[in-house]
Structure formats: structure tokens, C-alpha cells
Symmetry: C2
Subunit: 225 residues, 2 copies
Amino acid sequence: MKNNCTLCDYKSAAAQKLSAEELKNLAPNCITVKFKKGDIIIRQGTYSTNVAYLKKGLVKIHIDGPYHVQVVRIVKPKNYLGLPTTFGDKINQYSVTAIEESEVCFIDISTFRSMLQLNPDFTNQIMLELCKSELESYQKCVNRTQKQIRGKLADVLLDFADNIFHSDVFTVNITQEDIGNLVDASRESVSRVMAEFVKDGLISMSGKQITIVDRKMLASASKNG
Amino acid sequence: MKNNCTLCDYKSAAAQKLSAEELKNLAPNCITVKFKKGDIIIRQGTYSTNVAYLKKGLVKIHIDGPYHVQVVRIVKPKNYLGLPTTFGDKINQYSVTAIEESEVCFIDISTFRSMLQLNPDFTNQIMLELCKSELESYQKCVNRTQKQIRGKLADVLLDFADNIFHSDVFTVNITQEDIGNLVDASRESVSRVMAEFVKDGLISMSGKQITIVDRKMLASASKNG
DNA sequence: TTTTTCTTGTGATATATATCACATTTATAT
DNA sequence: ATATAAATGTGATATATATCACAAGAAAAA
């Protein structure tokens, strides 16, 4: 689908720094593609020739580890997917898969580069996001390696409510195995701990819908396991 | 100590993109400071007002986790320390400590920002490094969470030899507790596995000097634990 | 609807590694 | 040189979580 970037309602913080002229030049160099749940958007090990930007939907970023897949994080719209790959390495170091119907805008890499070259405000915003996500990934890694399952699961549930769905009631279209890969635990352990959380009244579940019932206790589980 | 950046022998890849004029302007806005082994260069939780760049020595980057310290990585010279903090957050998200006598150049942050604003080649190089380190940190996190101690220790030893000391014989000025924090293991476990490696002829040790004896077996330990 | 596949629940068991406790060695300070 | 502190080695024990095995439920396909 051809784009009209000027009128785009899903502009990134960085793209909002672009001039009318620049946005006009951008349009013919990017395409929007729709993905269904389960579709692979970026595949680890393949060449990356575009910058991907999530306009709508929800995706997971995942890496093939030595023994399992690790889900690095869940990404919501108005975020670039795989920015670091775009520069550092030409080969995608991780995969991105849609977990809901999603719309991704693929921007030609040399167009993206020339925007960086020409517009320092744009560049600055991109750098800010790179830095933020690097710091976040450090913090997440510490939590992944040090907390135990109850703590990590509580973290993930609060993160979903606070940063992704902005509601204490939400429906995540991922399996318990995915959640396991997100907190480095087996799917059986996820099942058990979730049941524990329900039993103890921290959350309630019906199907894939999760409701956060007791924020305080969940926060305490996040801290003390 | 006042700097003469033009004549500096330790320029970063990015700084090599600066013009003679730009280097001249840089000099009055940075100072070089010497640190002894054990000195804290950057302290987590404090304000960051400078960009730090490692000219000589060796440092560790570490984060206070919920239960222990995690050593994120060991950094060798000609690398920026804490770049992501410089933009993303004004508060240092991690600490940096010298593990050998080190020299660090502190660059005034607004000077650094204006170089980014004015020199796209400089910026490009900085972005490249940011991206590379983000990808690296993803990969490291997967290894940390999935491999077991033998594998992680083998990784670290090979990393030291290949990427830091460029020799199969090297002396690391860190304790086994540090190594434990680097591979997310207790110091006792590090001691035990190191002894195992010596017994099995993968490495030899005398004091803090480590010699890699059997690369093949070490690489296989890295893979298969 | 019926069949097949995917996902979840739950007990029993195995295991890697932490923790504790103390001895010994090495480094640092007096 | 001596005292003190820090780092390392090593056994015994505890424990969180993986793995295995199978049942049951939900979703997708036929």
C-alpha cells in the first residue's frame, strides 16, 4: 500500500520532527504491510533491507537461544522494530512476530539514512530511543537473571497493564509458553504460578483475559518473589 | 589535566571523524582523569553531566540488582562508558569501576551534543556503536539466562582472551566473586568450575594468571555446558 | 459435527546450583 | 615482620525449578 506520510496518524516521535518537504520525500520510499496474528515480520538470520515501524497491533521480539527461544519483549505501536539491526549489522539478530493483527511500515534504509544525515532533530530522537531501550534491556536482564518466577511474572503482568494495555483488565493473545519464554521459565511453571496468583487473589482469569485484582500484592510479589 | 585532542593517541572511531577545527574546540571541554584499581568512575543513581570515554586501563560496568550486583561487562579502552545514560536518562543507570589503573576522558555533555548536531559522520559512528552494544546485550542476556555455569564461564574466558587481552595468557584483576557476578553464579560455583577446567586441562592458572590450554574443549564447554 | 491439533493443568521426580560452614591461602595494613 | 582482612577451596545440605508423563480442555480444521 502506498503511503501518505504527511497525513499519517501514526507518526513516530522522530518522524514528527520531519519537515513537510521531508515527509513528502519519505512517502514514496515506504510501504505499509498488514500482518495477521502469528505472521513473522522480521526473521532472525535474514538480511535487513528496511527499517520497520509498528503502526498498529502488537508484536513480540524473540531470539533463538542455545536451548529455547527467548521473548525479548512485547512491543506496542509507534515504535521502531529492530532499529539496532538497521545500523549495526545487516543481518537480523532477532525475529519479530505479530501477536495481534498488525500494521508495519517498512522504510527504505537509504531514505532513512539520509533523513538521519540531514535532520539532526530526527536523529536526536532516534538516538534517544536507542539509548532508552538499551538501558531498559540492561535492567530487564538483571531482573531476568536474579528474580524468581513469581517476581518475574508479577513484573510482566504489571508491565502489560501499565505500559501496554493501560488497563487492569486485558486480553493477551499469547500462550503460557510465550510468557514462559518472556520470563525464562517453563510453561508448566507459568501455569502453576498463575494458578497461585489466582488462588491468592492477586489476579483473576477467564480464558485469555486477565484482571489485576490486587495491585499491592502483585507489586510485593514483584519485589519479594 | 588539560587535553590536546588533536594530538590525542586514543581517539575513538567517532572522534576520528571530527575536523581539525572541531578537535580544537573539543580540547577545552574535556579533561582526563586517572583512576586506580577499585576506584569508582561512574556511580549508579548519581547525575551524569559528562560523557565518559575510556582511554587506558580496564573497567567493569555493573548494576545493583534486586539481590546481587550484576557485572554487565568488562570494557577495554577506546570505548565510551555509559553513552546510553548520556541521552536517555540524566541519572546513571549503572556504575563503572576501574579494575586496573585507568584513564578516562570526561567530555562536557553540551559540547558532545553539539558535535552530534554538527557532524553527521561523528553521529553515525556513535549510533553504530550504540546499536552494536544493544544487539550484544540481547545476545548476552540470552546466554546468561539459558546456559549453565560451565558454558558461561567458558564464554567469559574466551571473550577475555579473544576480545580483551588478545592472548591466550592473561591476568585479570578481578575476584572470583566478580566473575560470578559476570556469569550470574555464586563465587563458590565459579571456584569449583574453574578447578574443574584446570583438572580437565582446558585452562591452567597460577595466581590471577590464566592460560587457555585447550581452546577446542573450551569452545565445546561454551556450547554444551 | 467430528476430528485433530494446540494449549493448559497437575503430580512425581530429577538436578543444577545456591547457601552454609569452616579451613586455607593470599594480600594488605600496621 | 606481624596482624588483619580479603579471597579462595571444598564438603554437606537445601531448594527452586526443569523435566517427564499424562489427562483434560479449548481451538482450529475437516
